[in-house]
Every structure is written in C-alpha cells, then in structure tokens.
C-alpha cells in the first residue's frame, strides 16, 4: 500500500538504526510526544533497534490519558440523566472515573453511543429533537477542528438540544510544563505529526529556542519515527536546537488554515487540568462566548475538581516522563487493561497499555 508500506520497510528501518548508532557519540534522552508514536514504537519494537545510549521517554500525548477524572465523572453523570444521549469516541468509554466508566453506565441503562465523527452527534440531535445530545469533546489539536465544526454546524442549524462537554488540550504548553519540571532530563522531542498537520510548526520555534532543545516534527510509521530520532540525534550531536520537519508529506509550516480558523471561531484558550501534570496555564480549549449555549457545563452544571487517582498508580510520573510503566509495582498485577488503575493503562495509546500489550513477557511479569 502506497504511503505506508515504504515506511514499514525493514531494510530502510535497519539502515536508519545503523545511522543513528554511528551518529550518536553519547547518551541522549528523547521524548516522543504523541501516544500514537508510543504505540508504534512498542508495536514495531523500534526502541529495541536503537543503540543503548538512546532512550525514548513516552510523552503526555494520549488524549484519553490526560483527560481529568472529573470530566469522566461529569460525562457519566450527564449520561445517566433521563432523555440524554451521550456520544463519545470509542476509547473514552473504558476510561475509569471515580465511580466506574461509561461502559458500565451504559449497562446500567444510560444511552451512551460511540460515534466516529462529532458530526454524527449533530445529526442525532437533528433526528431526535426530544432528546438532549451531548458530545464528549476531548483530544488535542487533531480532533479540535472536527469538534469545532460540530458546534459550528449545531449553532447554524439552531439545534438547541445539542451540547458539548469539552476537555480539549494543546500540545505546546504541555511540552513547556515537561521541560520546566525540576528533574526533567529531556534532550530533544519528536513532536506529534498530526497535531502539526493542523497547527503547523511555528509555535514550536520559541520552545526550541528558550529551552535549547531540538524539536523534530515526526510521523507515525517506523521509518518516520527512526528518521525523526536520527534528525534529533544529529542536531544534539552538533549542538543545534531548531524545529525540523520529518513529516513533510503531511505537515506544512503554517498548518491547515481552514482548520485553525474554525478552531479560532468556536474555541477560546483556557487553563486546563491535565491528569498527571496538574493545572497548566493556557493549555486547553473551551467553547468561546458565542457558543456558550452549546456548553454542556452550562446546561448540566460545571465539572467539579477532585482527586480520585488510586494511590498505587504512578501514571502522573509516567505522563511527565519521570517513570516507566515497568517501574510501577502495580503494573501487570493489580493494574491490567481489564482492570486499569490509571488512564495510561486504558487507551491503546497509553504507555502502560502499550507495554502490557507488547512487552509483558520480556519483563518477567506474571501472566494474569
């Protein structure tokens, strides 16, 4: 298949790994920001192809993982109201809140539906005027334009029974937060290719400059990721720290203007609480004033903040890049994909779930 098979070619991958090994003269720690990249790294075993000194740290770029528990609780609370249909992307359904997940709410009788596009939720609102249709809008800059379009269309169609529970987050402020952490040890970043497809690459330049770190915008196939690592190592070895674009087949410097315009129309930038990272200023999106009528928090009450993470769970340290999943005493024992304690075990993009799925046996962890 074109645009995929050539990026999974074993020979090309091996040559890139060799080039990385020849280029690196000392250890480097590189964080891949996006959960999709983490998943690919573990699935294809890319980390095992790298020389010993190159360490990959898995970043906070899994939308499911960083959505605060309070929002999951609120989504469940709304879903359980009479005459409400709650629509969500599939993998949010298994995210544990403080009292179960949306799948369990569904089995108790709540009308919870998986949609493949937020516009499907708008169609439902038009088709069922007697029901309140609430879309659980989460994700990074990748899902934001389509979610913005849902609110835009609902407003234009005057659909008073449509609203969104919005917990959108932005990548650059999270990268800053990771870099500002006192025991941070990240030398360079692989930035999330699809986020940059929307946003472009310019907003990463001040970060590269201020923190002296190379940032390589990187795709999701094995050859993409290895090439991204190579470009990052090459910069580190030569003392440079600029934004480079490995994923040029999808990412333009200015991103997607149309997508950014609809985001600007519908959303405003707000402070967001990140699971594992805490409050980060200007790190999220909420509905702008003109769309306040479509804000589920205005309709069903505001999200209440509380801390309900299991004490044994180190997902916060994992999301900050301070710990690896295998350093958690609960990994593979008390915490499994069937019974996740923390969100990093829930989504297939979560670092713990990826380790559990692809690496468990290497780690000597007993089977369930």
């Amino acid at each position: 298949m074109r645009f995929r098979d050539e990026y999974r070619d074993a020979d090309t991958a091996r040559k890139l790994a060799d080039t990385i090994a020849r280029t690196a003269t000392r250890p480097w720690t590189i964080m891949e920001v996006c959960g999709g990249q983490t998943h690919a790294i573990l699935r294809f075993g890319i980390d095992q192809m790298l020389p010993d000194g190159i360490e990959l740290i898995h970043g906070p770029g899994c939308p499911v993982c960083v959505t605060p528990v309070d929002f999951v609780d609120k989504a469940i609370e709304i879903a359980e109201l009479p005459a409400v249909t709650l629509c969500s992307f599939g993998d949010m359904l298994r995210v544990p809140g403080s009292r179960g997940d949306l799948l369990r709410a569904k089995s108790r009788g709540a009308d919870v539906r998986v949609v493949y596009s937020p516009l499907d939720a708008v169609d439902l609102a038009a088709a069922y005027p007697d029901r309140e249709i609430v879309f659980f809008a989460v994700g990074f800059e990748t899902t934001a334009p389509a979610n913005a379009m849902a609110a835009y269309r609902a407003r234009r169609a005057g659909l008073a029974n449509f609203s969104m529970l919005t917990s959108h987050v932005l990548v650059p402020p999270a990268m800053r937060a990771v870099l500002e952490a006192p025991d941070g040890r990240i030398d360079g970043f692989l930035a999330a290719g699809h986020v940059c497809t929307v946003m472009g690459t310019r907003e990463y330049e001040p970060i590269a400059h201020a923190f002296g770190v190379p940032i390589v915008v990187t795709g999701f196939e094995p050859v993409d990721i290895l090439e991204g690592i190579y470009l990052c190592v090459r910069q580190l070895e030569s003392g440079r720290n600029v934004v480079e674009n490995q994923y040029a087949r999808a990412v333009r410097t200015d991103g997607n203007g149309t997508a950014r315009a609809i985001m600007g129309e519908v959303f405003r930038v707000v402070t967001r609480n990140w699971r594992g990272l805490g409050d980060i200023a200007d790190s999220g999106l909420a509905l702008a004033g003109a769309y306040a009528a479509f804000d589920a928090e205005n309709r069903f009450g505001a999200v209440v903040s509380k801390d309900a993470i299991d004490a044994a769970c180190i997902s916060g340290a994992i999301l900050r890049g301070e710990s690896r999943p295998t350093e958690c005493p609960a990994f593979g024992t008390r915490c499994t994909p069937d019974q996740p304690l923390g969100v990093t075990m829930v989504s297939s993009e979560g670092a713990c779930a990826a380790y559990h799925r692809y690496r468990r046996a290497d780690l000597g962890t007993p089977r369930q």
Binding site: M1, R4, R8, A10, A13, R14, G36, L42, R43, F44, G45, I46, Q48, M49, P63, V64, F89, G90, D91, M92, L93, R94, L103, V114, Y116, V138, G139, F140, T142, T143, H194, P222, T336, P337, D338, S347, S348, E349, H356, R357, Y358, R359, R360, A361, D362, R367
Partner: protein
C-alpha cells in the same frame, strides 16, 4: 423474553396476507403462526424431516458425534458477503468441522421482533437454505418466537448442529506438540471490518466483503488424506490473536508466528489502520488455524490450497516448548512482540 402473546387465533382478525411485518400474533401458537411458518420457514427450508412438523426431528446416526450450538445477533442483518442467515449456518457448520466432524443436521431457532418486515425474514430463510445446501447439511427442526418491539434487534438466530466424527484421533489443544506447524487457512480480518463498515456506513469502495463460508471441505479432505491434525480452531470474535492465545494457554505451550506470513487484504489492512484496529484481533467467519506435525505440513497446505475457501492458506508459525501460554509474533521489522487477547470490546481509537 415474551413467549408470543399467548392469546390464540381469536385475537387475529386479519388474514396473514394483510400484513408485511411480523406481528406478536405470529408467535401466538395459533393459525397465524402456522401460516407464517408454512409460508416462509417450511416452504423455504423444505426438509422432509421438518415437514413432518413434529416436536423434534428423528435422525439416524452412528459412531461418535459432535454437538454444538451458537446464537447469532449480528447488526446489520445484511452485510457485504453474507447475512445473519448464512452466518448462522456456516458458524455452526464450522464449529462442527473444528471438532473433526462432518456436519449432518442443524436446528434453527428464530427470535423475531414484532414489526420485522416479512420480506426480511424471507430473505434470511432463503439465505439459510442456500448456505445449508452449499455446506451439505440439513435443517431438520426449529422453533420460532416473536417478542415485543424493542425487545430484540430485528431478528436473532440460534443454530445447533450435530456432526459425525471422522477424525481418527481427538482434535484439540491438548494434542498440540512442540514443533507442530501452524497453518492459517486464508487472509484475516474481513468479516469484522465488513460488518463494522456496513453498520457505521463508512462507504469504503470497493466494499470489504465478509469471509463468511463453510470450512469443513478442507478439514474433511485433510482427515481423509490421513493427515494427523492435532488442533483446529475457527477464528471468530477476537480473531487470530484470541484463537492462538487460547490454544497456547490450554496446551501450555509457546507459539511463535511471523506477521509477514499472515495474509491481510490491502483494503482490510487500510481499514484497520484507519480505525486503529489490529487485524490479528478482528473477527473472521470462514477462517481457521490447523496445527499439524511438521512432516505433514506441506501436504496439509497443498490440500487446503486446493479448496476455494482456503486457497490462500499459509504456514504462519510453529509450536514451541514454552513459555506456556505465550504467543510471540515477529513483526515487519524482524522484532518480536507479545500477542494478547483483546481486553473487552474492540473500540476504535480517538485519533
């Protein structure tokens, strides 16, 4: 579930022809029910044993038998490559084949939702008849119930089946030995992606077709040829991954497969990438794995490839001594990873 309306034919003032949907009265055990059965089910299936219209079928069997049952609740009822009817016949035929049995006869239990178009029922019945004819199996007894609107998703089907064991030795995970070859009967992931695409109206072009088909042909041929089949497993929900993990756990062996040897059609592979699914976890309805001793592998492979349903069969790996219960998969870059069962339902990724 509601057992019909129990009110007899006095509550049925309209003749059966006056309606084109299933009514509660069709499950009432009265004349309307008889008319429904005669006009659609009996007329379509047309089996002499069924036409006796007795409480059960009388069949003449000898030797060890395999007996299995399965219920079918697929949505949508019709999808590219099959429908709930062909699925219900082939699924049970395949379960019998996996026991090393030649399928002989099936029972058919229908649960109809009030309001189901009779035309839908007719299409499903015709599909079951055709699938049964193709698989050489008889539909000899059955049952029909009607439940209130909203209590079922249009139409549910249960089929139970009896087959005559033709395999000389017991087929099952306990017979698996280190060194056995693992043969996959064809490309994987088509049924799951076809049904998901039809249900969500993704509009893939060309549409992905389900692999729904009976597989007892190649199984019987291997048995007749004297191939020592150690274990068979059809790949339904949970896909190839679940089947292999289950066998590895029961057999207390390790399994090693090579992902580059597992056939996946390009459209299926693209759809899985799009939806964040792993083809190893996606459902199939006409595929199986066979475990055979290494010396029988090439003969088994040639026999399987001589049948249309398994023409793309491939040796994908082998059985190891251990570690028990572990399935390893060598990926496209030559690096091993663990294959696990899905945890819960298959959910598409967020982005």
């Amino acid at each position: 579930m509601t057992e019909g309306n129990g009110s007899g034919d006095l509550s049925c003032p309209l003749p059966v022809d006056a309606t084109d949907t299933v009514q509660l009265a069709h499950g009432g055990g009265g004349r309307k029910m008889t008319q429904l059965l005669e006009s659609i089910v009996l007329a379509t299936f047309d089996d002499p044993e069924l036409n006796r219209r007795h409480d059960g079928a009388v069949v003449d069997l000898d030797g060890p038998l395999a007996f299995t049952t399965d219920s079918y609740v697929v949505r949508p009822l019709f999808f590219p490559g099959g429908d709930i009817g062909s699925l219900a016949v082939n699924g049970t035929v395949n379960d019998l084949a996996m026991c090393g049995a030649l399928p002989i006869c099936l029972s058919v239990g229908l649960i109809l939702e009030e309001g189901l178009p009779l035309e839908t029922l007719r299409r499903v019945a015709v599909s079951m008849r055709d699938a049964a004819a193709k698989a050489g199996v008889r539909l000899v007894t059955g049952d029909t119930k009607v439940v209130d609107r909203g209590k079922a998703d249009g139409l549910f089907v249960n089929t139970s089946g009896i087959g005559r064991i033709v395999a000389a030795a017991r087929i099952g995970p306990e017979a698996v030995r280190a060194g056995d070859a693992i043969i996959l009967s064809g490309d994987i992931g088509r049924h799951g992606t076809a049904v998901m695409a039809a249900r969500e109206a993704f509009g893939f072009e060309p549409a992905i077709e389900s692999d729904c088909a009976p597989v007892h042909g190649p199984v019987s041929a291997m048995i007749e040829a004297g191939i020592e089949i150690r274990c068979l497993r059809d790949l339904t929900r949970g896909g190839l991954a679940s089947a292999l993990v289950e066998i590895a756990e029961t057999a207390k062996r390790g399994l090693a497969i090579d992902e580059t040897l597992v056939p996946v059609d390009a459209p299926v592979s693209a759809a899985c990438d799009l939806l964040g699914l792993d083809p190893l976890h996606v459902a199939n309805e006409g595929r199986f794995v066979a475990f055979v001793p290494p010396q029988d592998a090439s003969r088994a492979l040639a026999l399987m490839r001589s049948f249309g349903v398994s023409r793309d069969a491939a040796v994908i790996g082998q059985v190891l001594d251990g570690p028990p219960g572990e399935v390893r998969c060598r990926g496209q870059l030559g690096i091993d990873r663990i294959v696990d069962m899905l945890s819960g339902e298959q959910l598409p990724r967020i982005c």
